[in-house]
């Protein structure tokens, strides 16, 4: 079908050039060079540079001063670091709720009634808008004087609660805001996954008397494994990248109680609190090492799958 698009073959020259003789082995590298170059310069090298930088004290302008491991020693005794680390863990665990929540909504919407397509798109809406806007929207939602949440709580005789001003609630409040788009993402993954569920297996299981939770757990969920894997990957990455919402909603406050490592690193290195690039790099290294565990797991799973093919 595409052969018509192929141009006429040029007659082969007498002595084939070096390129012609090595075409198959050289071509992939020619195609790869721009991508590799960009990626090395902007992604791979900076990782090593950050590792290196974490052994220096540097304000971003003057001379770098080698301090060995003292940035890490300082980190060890830094209460703000532990607050951030603890919040990161809370984020990781609670963010995973987006996966069952997304599956639940997907099951709810997996019908063929009139107009269901538009419902699916509208449910997906929160994922498409930027986290900055999500953050603003939820800041107003939580507002103690006029926010919708407190208006509703007021009706049933509770509140007012200043979610974002209270050190005990603040992280949970922000995570709830983050779960909104993340659930939408997981929902769309599962909706596409459910399309591929084998109807014959479902019928067979029905004949065997399976229904409800049993059907879901033993017949449907195993078939949704690829969707679950992607949902897991994007949710973990999303949880560890949580920066926008915190920056917009609380700027780390109150009293730094809503910081996570990614935000604390930014604060240390680039905000008005001082340009401590080396210390920031040390925090980034810790965050990177946490992520590395997951990256290793993701790659291992992908590698296994590649071998399987």
């Amino acid at each position: 079908m595409t052969t018509t698009a192929v141009p006429p073959i040029t007659p082969e020259p007498q002595r084939r050039s070096w390129y012609k003789r090595n075409e198959i082995s050289v071509t992939p590298w020619l195609f790869l060079i721009p991508a590799i170059l960009f990626f090395l310069v902007y992604v791979i090298f900076p990782i090593f540079q950050s590792f290196n930088l974490s052994a220096y004290q540097w304000d971003g302008l003057g001379e770098k001063e080698y301090v060995g491991l003292s940035n890490y020693k300082e980190l060890w005794d830094d209460p703000a670091f532990y607050t951030s680390l603890k919040n990161n863990l809370i984020w990781l665990v609670l963010y995973l709720l987006a996966i069952p929540a997304g599956l639940f909504i997907a099951l709810f919407l997996n019908q063929t009634v009139a107009g269901i397509r538009i419902y699916k798109s509208l449910f997906f809406f929160p994922f498409v808008i930027s986290q900055v806007v999500v953050g603003l929207v939820f800041t107003w939602f939580y507002d103690p004087t006029f926010g919708l949440l407190n208006s509703v709580l007021g009706v049933v005789g509770l509140g007012p609660v200043n979610v974002l001003g209270d050190p005990t609630y603040v992280t949970y409040g922000i995570i709830a805001a983050g779960l909104w788009p993340q659930t939408a993402y997981c929902m769309i993954l599962y909706l596409t996954g459910l399309n591929a569920v084998d109807p014959e297996q479902v019928e067979a299981a029905r004949l065997d008397g399976a229904k409800g939770w049993k059907m879901l757990w033993y017949v449907i969920v195993p078939q949704l494994k690829p969707a679950t894997f992607i949902a897991f990957v994007v949710t973990i990455v999303g949880a560890l990248r949580s920066f926008d919402l915190i920056s917009i909603m609380t700027n780390g406050g109150p009293f730094g109680e809503s910081r996570v490592l990614s935000f604390y690193m930014f604060e240390v290195a680039l905000s008005e609190y001082g340009f401590r690039m080396g210390y920031g790099a040390a925090i980034a290294v810790v965050l990177f090492l946490i992520m590395l565990c997951f990256i290793a797991y993701f790659l291992y799973s992908m590698y296994k799958e590649q071998k399987g093919h």
Partner: protein, 282 residues
């Protein structure tokens, strides 16, 4: 099909489901509906402390007019477009080539390079922040759109290459072999055989990258500063500082900032979803 198709249930269950749908949707989008409502309320409503009643009159024209004609918002929107479009083109171009190389050719480093792109894609931004900012400063590109675009292209290439490579792997290899047998040069195979088949993947990635980059906030804050180069996500914070407590204007601003990716999603829904599911879930 799971759960059981609703058509097989009784009439009352069907009616119940159909009336539950809009209720669930309204609850789900409640925070957003509130902001949309705010954005068409006149300023007077807020000064009298009337937040949650319907607008006393339609103030949409005035509010959105202010956003478009009396603030830096159009500037930020233009910047966003000038950052997003070149990034989408650049990242798709680089990853088409890289994906072709990794998807078609067997060579020793193939899987390692592929894993490098995949792994780099998951890296936390903070580990790149200081060196990338430094590099951008050294290149004299700090606070320019170009500086932001170059970084975005590089970073998005990771994800795009993963996507393209998997897509190309799924193409029938016989096509390429047939072309080789006929003596077609390898780069011509790319342009005339593979590229035309990649159109759906290109569309999916272009839409997706547009949305990702439009919504980027972190790098906008790290690599740019003023209204001359900041995209709308970063701009909206200064916009909000300017109109502090003017909730009708802030809401209108938020809606304007959110709209382009939403429009993109609705226009290109099929491609968008194909991209999000990495093509892995068919």
């Amino acid at each position: 099909m799971f759960p059981k198709p609703i058509e097989k249930s009784s009439r009352s269950v069907q009616i119940g489901y159909q009336s539950l749908l809009p209720v669930a949707l309204i609850l789900w989008l409640l925070p957003l509906i509130a902001v949309a409502l705010f954005s068409v309320k006149p300023a007077a409503d807020f000064s009298t402390g009337d937040y949650w009643n319907l607008p006393s009159q339609f103030g949409g024209w005035e509010n959105y007019g202010k956003v478009f004609f009396e603030s830096d918002m159009p500037r930020y929107l233009l910047n966003s477009i000038l950052i997003t479009v070149p990034t989408a083109i650049g990242a798709v171009a680089l990853s088409c080539m890289a994906g072709f190389a990794l998807g078609i050719y067997n060579f020793k480093a193939n899987l390692w390079l592929f894993f490098m792109f995949v792994a780099g894609n998951f890296v936390p931004f903070q580990i790149l922040m200081v060196p990338v900012r430094d590099l951008t400063l050294d290149l004299g590109l700090y606070n320019t759109k170009t500086g932001l675009v170059l970084f975005h292209i590089a970073f998005q290439t990771g994800f795009c290459t993963l996507f393209m490579r998997n897509f190309i792997k799924g193409l029938p290899f016989a096509l390429i072999e047939a072309a080789r047998v006929e003596g077609v040069a390898e780069w011509k195979i790319f342009i005339y055989v593979v590229l035309p088949l990649m159109k759906p993947a290109i569309a999916a990635l272009a839409v997706l990258i547009f949305t990702f980059i439009w919504n980027d906030y972190f790098w906008a804050v790290v690599l740019t500063q003023g209204a001359e180069s900041q995209p709308v996500t970063a701009g909206i914070t200064s916009f909000n500082a300017q109109y502090r407590a003017a909730y009708h204007l802030m809401s209108a601003g938020a809606i304007v900032a959110a709209l382009p990716p939403v429009a993109m999603f609705f226009l290109m829904q099929k491609h968008f979803i194909a991209g999000l599911t990495l093509g892995a879930v068919k």
